[in-house]
């Protein structure tokens, strides 16, 4: 067993884990933060995307022990209390989700996309940048709209990623 400490959604947490424990397992099973999902075992679907030290990572492909000392933000940490992050609000407003399973990963990826690429995102850029996230329900049409609108809203509220 290995001990691991990190800050998750602004709270410090520690755990004693089997060294092979993945970050997503640590989040879901040790911390019961079940908003981060697992949709594949080959690092393809992006259902598991969280932010580690401000950058999007696939938590299914990251060992928990490698995040020792890191700041992790999950979907549960994105809203400011009951006030939704603009990207979350945009997904609801533009019907960017159906079953909701891919949604946490999509939103975390979208926020990271804005942080890296700015808030004026054209359709082509959004589609290319979503390459690592699979949605089986929406056909992406409304996800693309939601990301573009969420990016604009992030700019107008002067928001960077929450709760780093």
């Amino acid at each position: 067993m290995a001990s691991v400490s990190m800050t998750v959604n602004g709270k410090s947490v520690t755990g004693n884990v089997d060294p092979r424990t993945l970050l997503v397992q640590f989040l879901r099973e040790n911390l019961r933060l079940t908003g981060t999902h697992v949709g594949c075992d080959t690092s393809q679907c992006g259902a598991c995307v969280v932010h580690v030290d401000g950058r999007a990572v696939k938590s299914c492909t990251t060992l928990a022990v490698s995040c020792d000392g890191a700041h992790v933000t999950t979907i549960e940490g994105l809203a400011n209390g009951t006030e939704l992050h603009p990207m979350q609000a945009a997904f609801r407003e533009h019907h960017g989700l159906q079953c909701g399973f891919c949604t946490p990963g999509m939103i975390m990826t979208a926020v990271d996309m804005v942080n890296r690429k700015g808030s004026n995102l054209d359709e082509h850029t959004i589609r290319e940048e979503l390459e690592g996230n699979i949605c089986r329900c929406t056909g992406y049409h409304n996800i693309v709209k939601a990301v573009a609108a969420g990016a604009q809203a992030m700019a107008s509220t002067g928001q960077k990623v929450a709760a780093e």
Partner: protein
């Protein structure tokens, strides 16, 4: 229009929990003392099991049990069932082999369930599974349907030639006669590729058993928890229904694959009692590829007979349907009654004859996947009419129009009675939106850039609702396909809607609340929708076949009628009037022609305090239920147009425009309906361009991960232009037809018709990957050089 009335794009009530990570999917549920299951699966496509030695696995610290098919048999746990009886041409019943939840004596596909290891944690269960020693007697795999029917290798003893059934529909003599006098016959060989549904949430189950009350609870990723409970009780024999609760909480997509009752959930709920602990199982993606029921996988030869003007005289179809190694819950119905009755498409075809052979192979079971039979039928019809038009030198839209059904109701030669539609209206609107007029110009522009541009049409029809019950019963269905609803009005006037439908992305919490809010005049946030729990909702048939609007909401509508009727009686006592004089409008009960009225909430309170009437006159309370059985299937129809460009140098196909015009009847929430269309198109484009499940000759699934099976991604798809036309459905009170499967049904032929239009020849199979398209381009170039 008010913000929440019927027809308004109300934002979804369920979204808050999903966008904040508070959804509760099955794998998010953890029961106190829970243990974990891992399945030992067959690495062989076909083998006898000589022995299973679990000694070493059982000795691993943390392992609670290793259970096999012998344990199931000892506990008299029944096998999985197929709930739709199909009869052969000679009237004899189909040949269904036994399907134990854990193999008994033989495995029949890679991934078949051999044993289960239950342990303190998932890693231990998985590690210990490696130590279960199975001695297999390997038998030949049978992957190809033509090889299967030779019977050289027998998969189930009951079916010596591996044929589950040979079935037919339609009038053979009339069809043959029509072909005999035809002036032109178009022939087409079609392979409808095998797909893996791939809901993003993998299947999962948590079985729980309370030894004090002898009560089982199963949390599972199901589209129809009541049907799961019925099957687990009445057929598999886990527990009687009143001792088994099935909960399908938030479910992350289904597309058909979560209709079925699978081995894993059966084993989890049974094992919970055996080990005395809750048992949880969650599929990893590879397990999902191996053991979720697959979709499609037909090989078809079709012929279309026409007169000299291009009027269709008859259609003859012969299909081989791969059903996999076992019959899944509804698999037998998919290539038969969900397929052949749609072969008339939107066309007036005097004679149709279809023969289908259902065939066992040593591959995963094949069952309903979004559209289920209807995409396969539509692919046959829409490909062959397109090719026929080309052969006759006619514009494909004019050819279709000439043959459209115009008068309703229209009885097809293959069971269906189309009740309403206006196919020309959808075609006109689609052509306008797609700017068909200027297609030629765009094609020339593409040619100047060295690209091949094509346009493809698909004028699909589907049959939704899968009811009335008596009709499907006469066709072999083991269940009735009505729906139930209950409206519970609370004393304060808030409303709970209990529905037998199940939402796994369709937004029922919003649309159903929208209906109730509009009818009762109660604000939408005071309406909540309850589904997916057999302890809360008495019974229901679940969600598939685009039936929750047409059938599920109709049941709600019927229950609402009863609530209003009861409310009028209550109001009559309070307002001292006759119930016949009470009108209900805009949320108020009013004595006609007076200003005496009560708000809905006031009547609800009066119904519960019951001071104004005696219990002999009227029962207190305000709660009504309804079961609704439709009078017919519903028939959504529409036209999709795909315009694409091919780069002949690379074979890469880019969809430039997608136009969809659908007639879904009345629409409750257009935002949600459009979303359903988008998702369906994406899956249909996936089938046409990207997706294909492949088994090698040894029966190994070589496409068992997202590295090998190409899922449609954001950059594979365009944005879609979506429009509607409306002919209300006459067979249900809301005029709804259903929209969930339309895109997946319409899209594949639209794409392939566009590709073949671009290529100038018909020789391309699905998925039309860049490699396949590149090869087809070489052939096109040779053809051009020769001409």
């Amino acid at each position: 229009m008010t913000a929440t009335e019927i027809g308004a794009p109300v934002r979804r009530k369920e979204d808050f929990r999903f966008i904040t990570g508070k959804g509760q999917y099955t794998d998010d549920i953890n029961r106190p003392g829970q243990s974990y299951a891992y399945f030992v699966r067959s690495p062989h496509a076909h083998a006898t099991i000589k022995s299973i030695d679990a000694t070493a696995a059982r000795a691993v610290p943390g392992v609670l049990a290793v259970l096999t098919g012998d344990d199931l048999a000892a506990d008299k746990v029944g096998g999985l069932i197929c709930g739709w009886m199909i009869h052969n041409k000679d009237g004899s019943p189909m040949k269904a082999g036994a399907h134990p939840a854990l193999a008994q004596g033989k495995v029949r596909y890679v991934g078949d369930h051999v044993a289960v290891v239950v342990a303190e944690d998932y890693a231990t269960a998985r590690d210990a599974a490696e130590k279960v020693v199975v001695d297999y007697g390997v038998l030949p795999a049978v992957v190809d349907m033509n090889e299967a029917v030779t019977g050289k290798t027998v998969i189930h003893d009951v079916a010596p030639d591996n044929r589950v059934y040979d079935w037919s529909l339609g009038d053979k003599a009339a069809t043959d006669a029509a072909f005999a006098k035809a002036k032109h016959v178009t022939k087409l060989h079609i392979v409808n590729n095998r797909l893996v549904p791939n809901a993003m949430e993998p299947r999962a189950a948590v079985g729980d058993y309370d030894s004090g009350t002898e009560q089982f609870t199963l949390y599972t990723t199901s589209q129809n928890p009541h049907v799961a409970r019925l099957v687990l009780s009445a057929f598999i024999g886990i527990a009687p229904e009143h001792k088994l609760r099935v909960i399908a909480p938030d479910v992350g997509g289904g597309f058909g694959s979560k209709i079925f009752i699978y081995a894993e959930e059966t084993v989890c709920v049974w094992a919970a009692k055996k080990v005395g602990r809750p048992v949880k199982w969650t599929a990893d993606r590879t397990e999902a590829f191996l053991s979720d029921a697959h979709g499609r996988d037909h090989v078809t030869d079709a012929e279309l007979a026409m007169d000299e003007k291009g009027r269709i005289l008859a259609l003859r179809v012969k299909t081989k349907a791969n059903l996999g190694a076992y019959l899944s819950t509804f698999s037998s119905s998919v290539p038969t009654y969900l397929y052949a009755p749609l072969l008339s498409g939107q066309y007036d075809i005097p004679a149709i004859y279809c023969e289908v052979d259902g065939i066992y192979t040593t591959t995963a079971p094949v069952d309903a996947y979004r559209g289920a039979g209807r995409p396969e039928a539509t692919f046959v019809v829409e490909r062959i009419v397109e090719v026929a038009a080309r052969e006759l030198g006619q514009d494909p839209t004019a050819f279709r129009r000439r043959n459209f059904v115009r008068k309703f109701p229209h009885q097809t030669p293959v069971i269906m009675m189309y009740d309403a539609g206006d196919y020309s209206a959808s075609l006109d609107k689609a052509l306008e939106m797609a700017d068909y007029r200027n297609f030629g110009k765009r094609k020339r522009e593409s040619a100047r850039k060295g690209k091949l541009r094509g346009i493809g049409f698909s004028a699909y029809i589907e049959a939704c609702g899968i009811a009335p019950s008596a009709a499907v019963g006469s066709l072999g269905a083991g269940v009735g396909l009505w729906e139930s609803a209950e409206i519970r009005v609370n004393p304060v006037g808030t409303v709970e809607v209990l529905t037998g439908s199940h939402s796994h992305g369709q937004g029922h919490e919003t649309t159903f609340a929208q209906l109730v809010s509009a009818r009762l005049g109660v604000p939408i946030d005071q309406v909540s929708v309850v589904h997916g729990d057999t302890d809360k909702v008495q019974f229901g048939m679940g969600t598939y076949g685009s039936r929750s609007g047409a059938v599920g909401m109709s049941a709600i509508s019927k229950a609402l009628d009863k609530v209003v009727a009861k409310g009028k009686k209550v109001a009559a006592y309070v307002l001292e009037a006759s119930a016949d004089d009470i009108e209900f409008k805009d949320g108020r009960f009013q004595v006609a022609g007076t200003d005496k009225s009560l708000a809905f909430g006031e009547v609800a309170l009066q119904a519960y305090i019951a001071h104004k009437f005696s219990g002999q006159e009227l029962e207190p309370g305000l709660k009504e239920g309804a079961f609704y059985d439709p009078t017919n299937f519903t028939f959504p129809a529409g036209v999709h147009i795909c315009e694409l460009e091919i780069d002949p140098e690379t074979g890469v196909t880019t969809i430039e425009r997608w136009t969809a015009v659908d007639d879904f009847g009345h629409v409750i929430n257009p935002m949600i309906v459009e979303g359903q269309v988008h998702g369906g198109i994406a899956q249909g484009v996936g089938q046409a361009l990207l997706e294909g499940a492949r088994y090698d000759a040894n029966g190994q699934l070589v496409t068992a991960s997202y590295m090998d099976y190409a899922m449609p991604r954001a950059d594979d798809l365009p944005s879609f232009q979506v429009g509607t036309t409306v002919t209300p459905c006459p067979s249900n009170p809301l005029g709804i037809k259903g929209c969930g499967e339309a895109g997946a049904i319409a899209a594949p032929p639209a794409v392939i018709n566009a590709i073949t239009d671009a290529l100038g020849h018909e020789d391309i199979a699905m998925p039309a990957t860049p490699q396949a398209v590149w090869k087809a381009c070489q052939k096109a170039a040779r053809k051009m050089a020769a001409e």
